[in-house]
C-alpha cells in the first residue's frame, strides 16, 4: 500500500475509531495495533527509536491527562483522597472515576498522536504537501515549512544536544538542559528565513495566482454554514439521518471547490501516483469500515463502544466484532511491503 489517498483513508479510519469509542480496552487495543504497524514500517525505513519515542509520549499523555482530570473534576463515587475545600479549583474529593476518565482521554489523544506519526512515517513530505489544495498556495507554504520542521525538530534537538556535549556540558541536571531551548528556537527561526529565501528563488510563488475567485469564496462560505448547522443540530440530539447527510454535503462542497480551484494552477507533479490493486483493495476496505462504523454508531448498534466510568465504576463490555473492526487498521501490514519512499 503506498498511495497517498489510501493512507489518508487509513488515517480517517483510525480517527473515526478513536473518536467513536470511549471503551478503554478498545482504545488500548487500537494503540497496540498502531504501535505494531508503526514498528513494522519504522523497521523498513530504518527509523531507530520510533517505538521508544512514541511510548514516551503516550505515557506522559496518560499521566498528565488523568492527573488534570482527577484534580479538576470531582464527580464520581469512589473517593481516593479529599483535598481541602478552600483550595481553588482542585479542592474537593479526588475520585477513582475521574482518574479513569482522564486516562481514557489520554488514550484518545495518544491514539491520535500515534496515527499521525504513522502517516508521517509512511508518506514523504512531498506527498503530504501535495494534499494541500493548490488554491491555498500561501497557506501551503506555511504548512510546508511546518511539515519540514516537525520531523526535523527532533533531529535538530539531537544536533544541539550533541553540540552541548561537545562544549563539555554534562547534561545531567535539569539546568543543563536549559541551553537547549534557546538555540533550538534561534536556529529554527534562522532556518525558516533561509528556507523561505530558497523557496522564493526557486519559483514557489510564481504560480500562485494569489486571488481567490468570488465563486470559490461563496461556495466555501456556504459549505462552512452547512457544516456548522449540522454541528448545532447534533447538539440538540437530531437524529443521524439528518445530520450525516448535511456533513457529507458540506464536506463534499469543500472538496469540489478546492479541486476545481486547484485545476486552474499550472503546477505539475514529478511523481505520478498510480493506483495499485493493493491500494484499491485497502481503500475499499477502509471506506466500508469508516461508513459502517459511523452508521452503526449513529444507530446505536455498537453498544460496547460506549463507556463511561461515571457515576460508579463498572467493567466495560466487549465484543469480538469490536476488536475485529479495530484490527482493520493492521491491513497495511497484510498487503505487504511499504515501498513508498
Amino acid at each position: 500500500m503506498k498511495h497517498t489517498a489510501s493512507w489518508i483513508l487509513w488515517l480517517v479510519l483510525s480517527l473515526t475509531l478513536t473518536l467513536t469509542t470511549r471503551n478503554p480496552f478498545y482504545l488500548s487495543f487500537q494503540i497496540l495495533s498502531l504501535l505494531l504497524l508503526g514498528v513494522y514500517i519504522a523497521k523498513q525505513k530504518h527509523h531507530a527509536f520510533w517505538l521508544s519515542q512514541n511510548i514516551r509520549f503516550l505515557l506522559t499523555m496518560l499521566v498528565i491527562s488523568s492527573l488534570v482530570n482527577a484534580l479538576f473534576t470531582h464527580t464520581g463515587s469512589t473517593t481516593l483522597i479529599n483535598l481541602p475545600d478552600h483550595w481553588i479549583l482542585v479542592g474537593g474529593s479526588i475520585t477513582l472515576e475521574s482518574l479513569i476518565y482522564g486516562q481514557i482521554n489520554g488514550l484518545i489523544i495518544g491514539a491520535i498522536f500515534v496515527a499521525f506519526n504513522i502517516i508521517n512515517l509512511a508518506l514523504s513530505i512531498r506527498q503530504l504537501t501535495h494534499l494541500i489544495p493548490g488554491a491555498l498556495r500561501p497557506i501551503a507554504m506555511t504548512v510546508t515549512i511546518t511539515l519540514t520542521f516537525l520531523p526535523s525538530i527532533q533531529q535538530r534537538a539531537q544536533e544541539i544536544k550533541e553540540a552541548q556535549l561537545i562544549r563539555g556540558n554534562q547534561m545531567k541536571k535539569i539546568r543543563d538542559w536549559l541551553p537547549l531551548l534557546l538555540p533550538l528556537l534561534i536556529s529554527s527561526l534562522e532556518n525558516a528565513i533561509s528556507l523561505s529565501e530558497s523557496m522564493t528563488s526557486r519559483g514557489f510563488e510564481t504560480q500562485s495566482t494569489g486571488k481567490i475567485t468570488r465563486l470559490t469564496l461563496v461556495s466555501l462560505i456556504l459549505a462552512t454554514f452547512i457544516i456548522f448547522s449540522a454541528w448545532v443540530l447534533s447538539l440538540f440530539d437530531y437524529p443521524g439521518f439528518i445530520i450525516l447527510p448535511l456533513y457529507a454535503i458540506g464536506g463534499g462542497l469543500v472538496a469540489v471547490t478546492f479541486i476545481s480551484a486547484s485545476r486552474k494552477l499550472r503546477t505539475t507533479h514529478f511523481k505520478k501516483e498510480t493506483w495499485s490493486k493493493k491500494d484499491a483493495l485497502s481503500s475499499g476496505i477502509f471506506i466500508t469500515t469508516i461508513i459502517g462504523t459511523i452508521i452503526l454508531h449513529q444507530l446505536g448498534m455498537l453498544p460496547t463502544f460506549y463507556y463511561s466510568p461515571y457515576p460508579g465504576l463498572s467493567l466495560p463490555g466487549l465484543s469480538l466484532s469490536g476488536f475485529l473492526v479495530i484490527s482493520v487498521l493492521l491491513f497495511p501490514m497484510l498487503v505487504g511491503k511499504n515501498d513508498s519512499i
Binding site: 519559483g203 510563488e205 503546477t267
Partner: protein
C-alpha cells in the same frame, strides 16, 4: 558597498573573490533580487539582468532566468527526499512530467547522485548535500547560474567533475556563470573575468590575468609564478615552463621525512566498525594519532570521514576498541572525552549560542569546572584575531569569524587532542594562514591534531602524516610527500608543476636562478 559598476557578458564565467566578510554574497544576491527584497536595507542605482529589473521585480520575476545556490546547503532544502527536492522548482514552473523526468535523470547522472536519489537528505554527508543543492539549480536550465562557494565541501574529484560540467553548459547552452570562491586554484583556468572585492570595500574587476596581478592573497600556482618571475601567470600546472632550476630548501620543512613516533599513540582505534541504519560506514578501521603530530585526513564525499571523527569522540556508537591515552573509552561519554579532545564538527552552527564571543568561551570553562582570569581568556581570543569582537553576537559574525569563535570555544580549556572537521569552510587565504599558524603552534607544544579537509593545498602545508579514507577503509597512511605526489586525486599544484621532485607546497621551493 558603494558605487559599483559591472558588466557581465553572456556565456562567460565570472569569479567573485574577496576576503571573508567583504560582501560577495550580497553582491550575488542583487542579481536575482534577494537583495533588497529579502535582506532589507537600501539600494540605489540600476541593475539589469536579461531585460529584467531585479530591484523592481524581486526574486519572483527572476526565478526562470537566474538559479541561485546558497552558501550553506543545509538550510535550503524544502523536501526530505533527494529526488523530490530536485523536482521542487520544476513543479513550480509547471514543466510537464516527461520533460521533468528527463531533466532530473540527466542532472542526477551528471552530479553522480543516481545511487542516492531516494535517500533522505538528512542522512547525507556534507558534500552530498552540497551536490543536491547544486543539482536543484542546474535542473532549471537557467540562463544565469549563481553559485556561492559551491565546492567548499566537495572532494577534489567531484569538484573538478562539477566544474567541467558547468564549462560544458557554458559553451553549449550559453550559460552565464557567477561563482564566489575562496579556493581559487581550481577555478582560475576556467574563469573569464574576476571580480575582486577588497577589504576596503573597493572593487577590482577585469580579465583574470590583470586582476590576479593586483591581488595580494593568491593560490599556490600564482605564488610560485611570482617566486620564479613567470609572466603572464600560468593558470594550470601544464602551462608552467619547466626550464627553471630549483633546489630543495632544507629548512623550509624540517619534519619532511620524519615519521612521527607511533609507539605511544594518544588516541587509537582498533578494528573499529560503525554502521548507520544497517548500512556499514566504517569497516574495521585501525587508526592512530601520535603525540605532537598533525594528521591530515582526506577522502571522497561520503567516505566516512565525519563518521570517523564522531566515532572518536563518542557521538557515534561503534564496534571495536578506542583508546585515549592507552585507556579504553568504552565507559566514557562525549562530555568526558571532550575534556581531552577538542572537537570541531563539520557544521559548527549549533556550537554557538551565547550572547557574546567572550561569554562563549567562558561557558566552556564553566562546563569543565575550570577557574579562569578574564584577561587570560581575552589573550587567548587574540590568538584567533578575535580580540576586537569580544562583545559581538557570535551568530552575526562572518562565516570565517564564526568558525574561529567555534574553534576557540572548543579549545580554550587546552585539550591535548584536537579534531577538526572541515575547518576551512568559508575561510579566505588570510584566515587559513592564521589558522595554520595556530595549529603549528599547538603541534609544537606537543598537542596532537587530526585535520579532516578537502583542501589539499591547506593539508599539504600542515601535514606530518596523511591518511586517505575510501569507502570506510583506510587506503593510505603515510608521509605527505608521497600522499600529495603519488595519488592523482590529491596532487597539489606544486607537485603537478614539479612532477620529478618531492615538493608539495610553494614553501618547499626556493629558487637558485
Amino acid at each position: 558597498m558603494n558605487n559599483i559598476n559591472l558588466e557581465i557578458t553572456p556565456a562567460s564565467l565570472t569569479l567573485v573573490t574577496g576576503s571573508s566578510g567583504s560582501g560577495k554574497s550580497t553582491l550575488l544576491k542583487c542579481i536575482n533580487g534577494l537583495v533588497p527584497h529579502f535582506s532589507g536595507g537600501s539600494i540605489s542605482g540600476e541593475i539589469e539582468v536579461f531585460n529584467h529589473d531585479p530591484i523592481e521585480e524581486g526574486p519572483k520575476g527572476l526565478v526562470k532566468t537566474v538559479s541561485y545556490v546558497f552558501q550553506e546547503p543545509e538550510s535550503q532544502f524544502v523536501y526530505d527526499i533527494v529526488e523530490d527536492e530536485i523536482a521542487f522548482s520544476l513543479e513550480n514552473f509547471g514543466i510537464s512530467r516527461d520533460e521533468m523526468v528527463k531533466r532530473i535523470d540527466l542532472v542526477l547522472n551528471k552530479m553522480g547522485l543516481s545511487d542516492i536519489k531516494g535517500k533522505k537528505i538528512s542522512h547525507l554527508s556534507g558534500g552530498e548535500k552540497q551536490k543536491v543543492a547544486i543539482a536543484s539549480a542546474l535542473v532549471n536550465q537557467p540562463r544565469v547560474l549563481i553559485l556561492d562557494e559551491p565546492t567548499s565541501q566537495l572532494d577534489p574529484f567531484t569538484a573538478d567533475a562539477l566544474l567541467n560540467y558547468i564549462i560544458f553548459l557554458k559553451s553549449k547552452m550559453d550559460l552565464t556563470v557567477l561563482i564566489s570562491e575562496h579556493r581559487l586554484e581550481r577555478l582560475l583556468p576556467y574563469s573569464d573575468v574576476i571580480i575582486h572585492l577588497t577589504p576596503q570595500g573597493e572593487i577590482i574587476s577585469g580579465p583574470t590575468q590583470s586582476v590576479l596581478h593586483e591581488m595580494e592573497q593568491v593560490p599556490p600556482i600564482i605564488k610560485i609564478a611570482r617566486m620564479l618571475n613567470v609572466d603572464p601567470y600560468p593558470l594550470t600546472p601544464k602551462e608552467f615552463p619547466n626550464s627553471h632550476e630549483m633546489a630543495y630548501n632544507e629548512k623550509s620543512k624540517a619534519t619532511f621525512d620524519l615519521i612521527p613516533s607511533l609507539q605511544t599513540p594518544v588516541l587509537e582505534c582498533r578494528n573499529v566498525s560503525t554502521s548507520i541504519n544497517g548500512k556499514p560506514i566504517l569497516k574495521r578501521i585501525n587508526f592512530r594519532l601520535a603525540k605532537g603530530e598533525i594528521l591530515v585526513v582526506h577522502g571522497p564525499n561520503g567516505s566516512g570521514k565525519t563518521t570517523l571523527s564522531r566515532t572518536l569522540v563518542g557521538l557515534q556508537s561503534s564496534e571495536g576498541q578506542i583508546f585515549l591515552h592507552g585507556q579504553d573509552t568504552k565507559l566514557l561519554g562525549t562530555e568526558d572525552m571532550v575534556k581531552e579532545i577538542g572537537y570541531l564538527p563539520q557544521n559548527p552552527g549549533d556550537l554557538l549560542f551565547a550572547e557574546t564571543v567572550l561569554d562563549e568561551i567562558k561557558i566552556t570553562m564553566n562546563n569543565h569546572q575550570l577557574k579562569y582570569h578574564e584577561a587570560d581568556l581575552i589573550e587567548f581570543l587574540a590568538q584567533f584575531g578575535l580580540n576586537e569582537k569580544l562583545t559581538e553576537y557570535p551568530r552575526d559574525l562572518s562565516v570565517g569569524e564564526r568558525q574561529r569563535t567555534a574553534l576557540a570555544a572548543i579549545t580554550v580549556h587546552r585539550p591535548n587532542i584536537i579534531i577538526l572537521d572541515e575547518p576551512t569552510r568559508g575561510m579566505d587565504y588570510q584566515n587559513k594562514s592564521s589558522l595554520s599558524k595556530i595549529l603549528t603552534l599547538w603541534r609544537d607544544e606537543g598537542r596532537s591534531i587530526c585535520l579532516i579537509t578537502h583542501d589539499v593545498e591547506f593539508g599539504a602545508m600542515l601535514a606530518d602524516r596523511v591518511l586517505l579514507l575510501e569507502e570506510g577503509e583506510i587506503s593510505f597512511d603515510g608521509l605527505p610527500n608521497i600522499a600529495y605526489t603519488k595519488f592523482p586525486r590529491y596532487r597539489t599544484q606544486t607537485s603537478l608543476i614539479f612532477p620529478n621532485q618531492n615538493w608539495i607546497t610553494p614553501g618547499d621551493i626556493s629558487q637558485i636562478s
